[in-house]
């Protein structure tokens, strides 16, 4: 607010001084010019008081007339001058004020101060999202669905205007500003006690790096998630201590490789990081054999590296013949049928259309499908707006970098145990993944489950902590899997990971005993999560699932029961 006030004062200097001078000159004239009485005799001029009164009502165009007595001609002449002068003075002042309010710099100062006040007032934990393009947009909608709060900083005004029109559950402060500037981050609550993390999701790796650096130096306590599309920038971010670096191309490359060599664990991965509530993708797994990659950019590089490690036979189409030493490169854009034939598409097993142009990718994929209808096609979709086109084309895999980043960030934010689980799960064989998948299908259903972690502590599991404080009390994991309404029934969820003092174990069994401080990762339906929360927080529900007793909660009732027993 301070800066807005000072801007107004500073801009109003000239008009205010003009007004003061006009008033002074007008009053002075009136107290010097002699009046006249009814008989034509000169009378003394107006006093200061009357002159001020006259100028006040004349300048404000109220115009009471000639007070206290009829004017002489000389006074009338001066009154005319006064009228014109004062109208000019007021007009100038009002125009200056109006110009000030339509001034961009002023509006920005106003918006910034309003934004800062809204951020200051946030009382719940929130995330600071820098960059609200496609990725940021997806992410904030997901955060909103999960009931989390966030503050948005975005460089492009149109995006912020769109955000303001959207209907979020919570108040969402947003600001048009450059997030790579430390002042902007501070304004957006970087040092706010409730700030839980910063997400650097702008389209520019440089800006993301700048944000990571600023966060590390200005508030080292909070985590920062960075999106990076270039490997060298990712390395620099890591060097500066960014907690998580999300590179959509690397993530997809690894997933594709995983899909080739371990389809079950790939499906498990895809299932767990998917958007809760959507159906699981049906379809074939990527085949082994001859693969054609169109476009050897950041995406192509990552895919080629991973597929080559899987021992695939790879050929490339790229406008630059020297792009990839060691591989067979056909020069072309991929749209030409001749290039597709030359690279061996009719005999190939798979094709990746991975240029940074959506229309190119679609035409490459369409041409390849004509040549070889059984081809496994992976297309890269760069822009969210083209979603309908890609859906209509229906490739075997559609890669949307913005979705990959959003999902990865969301998983990191909401379930910090999930990345650990996925890392451990990757090391298991495919048999293990198949059996876990089968168990999850049986217990949860076909829909993509929600993942959540539970920590046995006073905040998230008050009843469980109280129970464990009793001597000899034990809390088997199975207690958290039973329905608090009917303990014979199972909740629709599966425990995935158990962490105690840094030790991690995959898929804990029901008879494992829990201790305070343990963390468990579950996957299941939203309803199961809510019921489990009831068990953890409500002593009666916990007592019921553990012992089968319908507990009496009231003090009086409890006393009566014990009195009867005695």
């Amino acid at each position: 607010m301070g800066s807005v006030f000072f801007i107004v004062l500073r801009r109003m200097r000239a008009p205010l001084i003009t007004l003061i001078v006009i008033y002074a000159v007008s009053i002075l004239g009136l107290v010097l010019i002699a009046g006249v009485d009814a008989n034509g005799k000169p009378t003394p001029p107006l006093s200061f008081f009357h002159a001020f009164y006259f100028v006040s009502y004349t300048a404000s165009t109220i115009g009471f007339g000639e007070i206290p007595a009829a004017f002489s001609d000389a006074q009338r002449m001066w009154a005319t001058v006064t009228i014109y002068l004062s109208v000019i003075g007021w007009t100038y002042s009002i125009l200056t004020i109006l110009a000030l309010f339509s001034d961009r710099a002023f509006q920005q100062a106003l918006a910034a101060s309003r934004f800062h006040r809204r951020v200051e007032r946030i009382a719940e934990p929130f995330y600071l999202v820098c960059g609200c393009g496609e990725t940021g947009g997806l992410l904030i909608h997901a955060l909103d669905r999960l009931g989390m709060r966030f503050v948005v900083v975005e460089l492009e005004e149109t995006r912020i205007v769109e955000l303001e029109l959207e209907d979020f559950r919570s108040d969402t402060p947003s600001l048009v500003a450059d997030a790579s500037q430390p002042q902007t981050l501070l304004l957006a609550g970087l040092r706010h006690p409730k700030c839980r993390g910063v997400l650097a999701l702008t389209n520019h790796d440089d800006a993301n790096l700048a944000i990571a650096v600023a966060v590390r130096l200005l508030n080292p306590a909070i985590p920062v998630l960075c999106r990076a599309e270039r490997t060298d920038m990712a390395a620099r971010m890591a060097a500066f201590g960014a907690d998580h670096i999300v590179n959509p191309f690397d993530i997809f490359g690894q997933l594709l490789a995983q899909a080739v060599h371990a389809p079950a664990s790939y499906r498990l991965h895809e299932w767990l990081i998917g958007t809760p509530g959507t159906k699981q993708r049906a379809g074939d797994d990527p085949p082994r054999g001859h693969w054609v990659i169109c476009g050897y950019g950041r995406f192509g590089r990552s895919v080629v590296a991973q597929l080559a490690r899987e021992g695939m036979d790879i050929a490339l189409i790229d406008p630059n013949a020297e792009a990839a030493p060691g591989f067979r490169v056909i020069v072309g854009s991929g749209i030409e049928e001749s290039a597709l034939r030359a690279v061996g598409v009719p005999e190939a097993e798979g094709l990746v259309a991975g240029t940074d142009d959506d229309i190119n990718n679609l035409s490459i994929a369409a041409a390849a499908r004509r040549l070889n209808p059984g081809l496994f096609i992976v297309v890269r979709q760069n822009q969210q707006a083209r979603h309908e086109l890609f859906e209509a084309f229906d490739a075997d895999l559609t890669v949307v970098p913005s979705e990959i980043v959003a999902h990865a960030c969301l998983a990191l934010l909401t379930t910090p145990l999930l990345p650990s689980f996925l890392r451990l799960a990757e090391k298991q064989d495919d048999e293990w993944a198949w059996s876990l998948l089968a168990r999850m299908r049986l217990q949860i259903g076909e829909e993509v489950p929600e993942c959540w972690s539970v920590r046995i502590d006073a905040e998230a599991a008050a009843a469980a902590v109280d129970w464990l404080a009793n001597d000899g009390a034990s809390l088997p994991l199975s207690a958290l899997l039973a329905d608090p309404a009917e303990r014979e029934l199972q909740l629709r969820c599966v425990p995935l990971l158990w962490r105690r003092d840094g030790d991690e174990r995959l898929v804990p069994a029901g008879n494992d005993e829990l201790q305070a401080g343990d963390e468990i990762l579950f996957a299941g339906t939203h309803e199961a999560r809510a019921r489990q929360e009831l068990i953890l927080q409500n002593a009666n529900a916990l007592d019921y699932v553990l012992t089968g007793r319908e507990a009496n909660s009231g003090w009086l009732w409890g006393w009566l029961m014990s009195a009867r027993k005695a």
Partner: protein, 127 residues
């Protein structure tokens, strides 16, 4: 030389000198205290106040505060004058004159503080 500084200094000093001019002389004698001089002091003080708008520094804030005090005192003096001359019709009796002049004396003190700050600021700059 900075023209802004010249104008700024000019108005602050002029406000103090005009105020002083009105203030000097026998406190109860209206012939020593002309109302034109009070008018000039008020106008120049108001301009000096507006010139001090928008400075975000600590010194700027004190500057503005002293000017506001001087304005308040001078406007009060003008109010007392107008009340006595036009509303009660009492005229400039020695007691009324004394209260008008003593109010302007308060304003003079504020203006002197303002001058002192101006000088201190200039000495601090040493340019």
């Amino acid at each position: 030389m900075n023209l802004e500084k010249v104008i700024f200094g000019f108005f602050i000093v002029l406000a103090a000198t005009l105020n002083f001019g009105f203030f000097v002389g026998d406190i109860g004698n209206p012939t020593y205290h002309h109302v034109y001089e009070l008018f000039a002091a008020i106008v120049v003080n108001l301009i000096a106040t507006v010139l001090k708008f928008g400075d975000r520094t600590q010194i700027g804030a004190i500057h503005l505060a002293t000017s506001l005090v001087a304005d308040l005192q001078l406007l009060a003096a003008a109010g007392v004058w107008a009340y006595a001359v036009h509303i009660t019709g009492e005229g400039m009796t020695p007691s009324i004159t004394a209260s008008v002049v003593s109010l302007s004396g308060g304003a003079l003190l504020a203006n002197i503080v303002s001058l002192a700050i101006l000088i201190a600021e200039t000495v601090m700059m040493r340019r």
